[in-house]
């Protein structure tokens, strides 16, 4: 297989979905129902990624206390609820993870 052809085609099917909607912005008006749906995109996609990254470890669901990713995520969630502050949330989550790694 021609590797450079593969790269060119991969680049095309990566770039087009990223660019097309942006290219059309201001030119097409989306139906209101679609506009409403798009508002939920950040929450929907980022939470789905959080779910798979925190709860799926080594290819399987891990809800045990040994899953430090999940515990750090839970701590970050609680801190974020209280503070609503990105920087503090990250520091708290990472501190929790580091403490668990080092001391447990």
């Amino acid at each position: 297989m021609n590797e450079w052809l593969l790269i060119a085609l991969m680049a095309a099917v990566t770039y087009l979905p990223r660019y097309l909607p942006l290219a059309l912005a201001g030119k097409v008006r989306l139906p209101p129902i679609l506009e409403l749906g798009l508002d939920f995109v950040p929450i929907a996609v980022l939470t789905a990624i959080i779910g798979q990254s925190a709860l799926i470890r080594d290819g399987a669901l891990d809800m045990s206390l040994g899953n430090y990713h999940a515990i750090a995520a839970l701590v970050a969630f609680l801190v974020a609820l209280v503070t609503r502050h990105l920087f503090i949330t990250i520091v708290a989550g990472l501190a929790c993870f580091t403490l668990l790694k080092v001391f447990v």
């Binding site: 297989m1 979905p17 912005a25 950040p42 959080i50 974020a80 502050h85 920087f87 990250i90």
Partner: protein, 250 residues
Amino acid sequence: MHNLVYNCVLALNDPEPSMHTPAKQLWLGALETLPLVVAAFPFGIVFGAMANTMELGLAVTVGMSAIVFAGASQFIALTLLAGAAALPVIVMTVFIVNLRQMLYSANLMHHVGYWPQWQRAVLAFFLTDETFAVVSDRLNRHPGAPGLRWFYLGSAIFMYSFWQLSTALGYALGGQIPGLSDWGLDVAMVVAFVGIVVPALRAHADWACAAVALVSAVLTHDWPHQTGLLFSSLLAVAAGMLISRRRGHE
């Protein structure tokens, strides 16, 4: 050094981004992407090492990172290449994986209507999960604030350069990967995303959307080629829409 840290904290707290110069916006965008860069770094190393093991040339490996610039797609391409998949199969799969990013692009449509087309064309290339996350966080905290393009560019350059660096490093290290992937650095991405999502949860519909996304993503984690992620996102969007229509716009 203390002064630098103090400035970082201050910058992330600053309620008035309109006061910022382009240079400061660039810096802020990069700064907010830092935990995500840290989380992506081991993946880049593993990608480079994997490509080396598969006897992909250095130019092809670095070229793929530089021209395609999409972590998940690159991993999937390697896996399919190893399994001797046909070219159309790989391209189609990569396309499906990237449909998620079409949602990002569509979500940003509101905000880029006045950007010149060439700027959209350039910035679209850098629309990764990471950059979308920090950009959408900024839009959530400071809707309508000027300088978004610089902030976006700062995030993009930082993410891009470290992705190149990490894949090249991984390739150079080859078989001798330092156990970097065992450190669990991806936790930085998890907690950063939590810090970005939670402040955006306001109405009941937002919470419903997040809950559906979480549960569905876990249940569909073994679907091939991240289709579970795409499916869960769409399902969660539908849930959010349903609740917000039922309750009226909150």
